[in-house]
């Protein structure tokens, strides 16, 4: 798998440590937030709620805590000593494995903390552990639990906690540690520089929508009066007052909320393109100009019928269109937010080793951003290397998946170079930093991602493609209408042309796409598929329709991303011996073998005794006795590569060499197993293909799409996988560096400009390719970098979500076309009516909402999926995701 998975794993560790480990004693339930919390939150002898076995993934224990706190508060009222004791308790939160000391570092504070008034600071923390109402109640009690905290407010949907505290009375690390001890380990919230501007923009948009609605509502009320007046009779002064009133409201509506269409149209025209904004603007403008003239001309008695004003249609149109935009915008923001949150999961601190003048050494935790070239950092097993560097003490095995995507660990020794983001697997090492931040290999890769993302050509939405034809036909028909009605007088002819422009104003067209896309994005999010924008759906539907190339990363995407025993030929009776031997080694290969050979923890230590064990590069050997000291003889087992066995003096039969080679051509790594100096079996290790991968590839190729595998792994392995999946050999590329993946997509696109390229991957090594592709899809477990670069994120494991994504996109585009068709049909009918001179403002006011509502109704049908996937979806909703790192996207 990739680096991020490891990061997440570490975080989960923290959570476990902060939550149920710690104080020993009260291990309540397995949901990671109960144990110690009860002890901290209930410092008095208040009986905590009964410890029931917990299965709801957090909320029930949080509820218990809330109850505890209720009891605690009551107790607090009884005695004054409580306060002192409580604060003492809170101060005494012990520094555990993660002590959050980097939160107090100057560099950290400079980056994340804001000054909020005299003596108080403010920080946004990402708390992935919050799930429900109880969590919110518990967390927002922070000011009453911890002295010095002024306020704490939680944004439940984004899981962002904003804490304001007094710098003199409390340190941020203590607050963070306290939160951690409550089971909500915080991390600094990634904050885009544009965040504030974004929030302001969101709010302004909502205000605009509100104003448009208010105007539209009032204009409608007034026109009801006017239409009533037409039939019942209304005196002239009142009618004219009504008209001026609606003129005023419409003016406000167009000048303020409606201005975004004018601006959009202006930008489009300057860029020499036509978007939907252009016909919208034309219709709005023509109708407004006419209606204004009609209103004023009426007072000057120049013979124009003042009944023909369209203010009601105008303001309603603006309101409807704004609703479409707003909903679309909101949905996209939500998806972006969720992805931003995943950024914060990067470990932010490094253990820096400093030599003191006394000759002693001291390690301190510092934020990664404050690292300097030349400093020495210590990297513990399970930690991620914070910067590029040279290994200067110790040797260990590393998971380099971040750069290669490969699942096999690499052994590195003193003097070897290490890249940031690589995970240390076995032993603590020290690394001398050679590059930090943006200068690291990963940093450069991120730069590449940013470049590709900004270079990506914008996708023209279907509705915008229609806009030009729409505009031309509107103008043409308007011209025809004027010509037809010229004989009845210019005023009459223009009136009919205006009627045409307003009734054919693409309200339904403008609504259809955003509505269908929004519904689709929402439903997809419920299925834990995060889609950043409607254009991704359009491209995916296009690509899945046989006009695209799907590039897959291998490790973790097509395969399961972890080592497994895939084949065993030879002596079955040796299996338990080998398993016993391998269970003694922490090496990932050994772990995989021990697991898959079926060693349960029960017989691991008791039945087998391993006398001697030695692991040298490339293998393991030792003597193993099964079943204690009884009759069973001991066996000398050696397992490893051919070279290793030869070095151990094992005779290798040609038969086994052939077998090993056969397995190697299938893409597996063969391991020869020798017993008492003779090879008796060959085990094959590999990263097996996901079950659903074959179906997916079959499905795609059946529909005419190309499938390509781009992997950093050995070409042998890649070819083996391609063989299993039925991907043509020339489409399976091995040894592809991260930069080359992006290059491959760029090159292929240059060759086939009309094809759409979809990249599916999970690692940092795929990030650049994800950004370069027309649509990048990051699959479950992906590194945060790939999430940032991708347009779609599948939060559920496996490739089944991908299938849903493709089906849903195809279905959505079908719905969009249907909705566009319905709205075009209305336009055609309305245009014909107005050309025939039958359209009055009243009819226009009725036609338009009918058209819009039916379009929206059609659009609501998007992203329908078969019943079984819905059921599965429900099951997922109830199930709390195992990884606390993935916030539930369904909210």
């Amino acid at each position: 798998m990739t680096n991020a998975t490891h990061n997440l794993g570490i975080l989960r560790d923290h959570e476990a440590h902060g939550g149920s480990g710690g104080h020993g004693g009260s291990k309540g339930c397995g949901c990671g937030c109960s144990g110690k919390k009860k002890e901290v939150a209930v410092p008095l002898n208040v009986q905590p709620a009964a410890k029931k076995p917990c299965c709801c993934g957090g909320s029930c224990s949080a509820r218990a805590i809330a109850q505890d706190m209720q009891a605690q508060r009551e107790a607090a009222k009884r005695t004054e000593v409580v306060e002192a004791e409580r604060s003492q308790q809170s101060q005494a939160v012990p520094a555990e494995r993660h002590d959050f000391s980097e939160f107090d570092d100057a560099a950290f504070q400079e980056r994340y903390v804001r000054v909020a008034g005299a003596g108080t600071r403010e920080v946004d923390l990402f708390v992935p552990g919050v799930h429900c109402a109880s969590c919110l109640r518990v967390i927002e009690r922070l000011p009453s639990l911890l002295p010095g905290v002024v306020s704490a407010s939680l944004d439940l949907s984004r899981k962002i906690l904003r804490v304001r505290w007094s710098q003199e009375r409390q340190s941020l690390s203590a607050i963070a540690a306290y939160l951690g001890s409550m089971g909500y380990p915080p991390s600094p919230a990634y904050r885009a520089a544009s965040e504030d501007a974004r929030v302001r923009d969101d709010r302004r948009q909502l205000v605009r929508l509100g104003v448009a609605g208010l105007c539209a509502g009032n204009v409608m009320l007034i026109s009801f009066a006017l239409y009533g007046g037409q039939f019942e009779g209304m005196d002239d002064v009142t009618a004219q007052l009504m008209r001026y009133l609606s003129l005023a409201f419409t003016l406000v509506c167009l000048a303020w909320p409606g201005a975004i269409f004018f601006r959009g149209a202006w930008h489009a025209l300057r860029a020499r393109t036509v978007t939907m904004d252009v016909p919208i603007t034309l219709g709005l403008f023509a109708a407004f100009a006419w209606s204004t003239i009609a209103t004023i001309a009426r007072t000057t008695e120049s013979g124009v019928t003042a009944a023909d004003i369209y203010f009601d249609s105008l303001s309603m149109l603006t309101f409807f269109l704004l609703i479409g935009r707003f909903v679309q915008h909101r949905q996209q923001r939500r998806a972006q937010d969720s992805i931003e949150l995943l950024f914060s999961l990067t470990p932010a601190s490094a253990r820096v080793v400093e030599s003191l003048s006394t000759g002693e050494e001291r390690t301190s935790k510092r934020p990664t951003s404050s690292l300097r070239v030349g400093e020495v950092v210590e990297v513990l097993p399970g930690d991620v290397v914070p910067a590029d560097g040279v290994l200067c003490r110790g040797s260990s095995q590393f998971n380099t998946a971040i750069l290669t995507g490969e699942s096999m660990p690499t052994t590195l020794a003193e003097g070897d170079t290490l890249a940031a983001g690589v995970t240390n697997l076995s032993r603590p090492v020290r690394v001398r930093v050679t590059a930090t931040g943006i200068d690291t290999r990963v940093g450069q890769l991120m730069k590449l991602v940013a470049e590709h993302s900004s270079r990506r050509a914008p996708i023209v939405l279907l509705a915008d493609k229609l806009a030009l034809y729409f505009l031309i036909s509107m103008l043409f028909l308007a011209g025809v209408t004027v010509a037809i009605w010229w004989h009845a007088g210019p005023a009459h002819a223009i009136l009919n042309a205006i009627a045409l422009l307003i009734v054919s104003c693409p309200c339904g067209l403008g609504l259809a796409t955003p509505m269908a896309m929004t519904v689709a994005l929402g439903k997809a999010a419920k299925q834990r598929l995060l889609i950043k924008g409607g254009s991704a759906i359009q491209v995916l539907a296009h690509a899945a329709d046989g006009k695209g190339t799907f590039c897959f990363d291998k490790t973790g995407t097509l395969t399961q991303g972890r080592l497994r025993l895939t084949a065993w030929t030879g002596d079955e009776s040796t299996k338990p011996f080998l398993a016993a031997l391998e269970s003694q080694s922490p090496h990932p290969i050994a772990a995989a073998l021990a697991r898959d050979l079926g060693v349960s923890s029960a017989n691991k230590g008791t039945n087998a005794s391993v006398n001697s064990i030695s692991t040298i590069g490339g293998g393991i050997c030792g003597s193993v006795r099964l079943g204690g000291a009884q009759a069973q003889p001991s066996a000398d087992i050696a397992a490893g590569t051919e070279r290793f066995l030869l070095s151990q003096g094992v005779a290798i039969d040609a038969r086994w060499t052939h077998e090993a080679q056969r397995l190697a051509t299938q893409g597996w790594s063969p391991i020869l197993v020798a017993r008492d100096g003779k090879v008796v079996a060959v085990a094959a290790l590999g990263d097996p293909v996901r079950e659903e991968a074959k179906d997916l590839v079959h499905h795609l190729t059946n529909r005419g799409a190309n499938v390509v595998i781009l992997s950093g792994d050995h070409p042998h392995v890649v070819r083996g996988i391609a063989l299993q999946l039925g991907v043509p050999e020339e489409n399976a590329h091995g040894h592809v560096a991260p930069e080359a993946k992006a290059q491959f997509i760029e090159d292929s696109r240059a060759r086939q400009p009309d094809r759409k390229f979809v990249m599916v991957g999970d690692g940092v090594n795929d990030a650049a390719a994800l950004a370069a592709a027309d649509v990048g899809i990051a699959v479950h477990g992906g590194a945060e970098a790939s999430l940032a670069a991708a347009d779609v994120y599948c939060a559920d494991a496996g490739l089944t979500p991908l299938r849903h994504l493709l089906d849903g996109s195809t279905q959505t585009m079908r719905t969009v076309r249907l909705a566009l068709g319905v709205s075009l049909f209305y336009n055609v009918v309305a245009s014909a009516l107005s050309m025939a001179g039958y359209v009055s403002p009243l009819l226009a006011a009725v036609l338009m909402p009918v058209a819009s509502i039916s379009t929206v109704a059609v659009a609501m049908m998007s992203w329908r999926l078969p019943a079984d996937s819905n059921r599965q979806d429900k099951a997922n909703e109830n199930l709390d995701p195992e990884d606390g790192a993935c916030p539930s996207f369904s909210s």
């Binding site: 919110l136 109640r137 000011p143 009453s144 407010s153 949907s157 205000v207 509100g210 208010l214 009142t238």
Partner: protein, 55 residues
């Protein structure tokens, strides 16, 4: 009919007041988090709860 000349300004004033109130509530961030407040009100102990603060 002359009553309408009083009613309309009154209606306009009301509409204007509503618009201003809405604008203020949005700009002060009351619509930023739509799920938290619904839950927050379930808490009976009001004194402990801090109002959402906004930038």
């Amino acid at each position: 009919m002359s009553v309408i000349f009083i009613m309309i300004p009154v209606a306009l004033l009301l509409a204007g007041a509503a618009a201003v109130a809405f604008g203020r509530s949005v700009l002060s961030g009351q619509y930023d988090d739509l799920s938290g407040p619904a839950v927050r009100m379930l808490d009976d102990d009001v004194s402990d709860v801090t109002p959402p603060n906004c930038p």
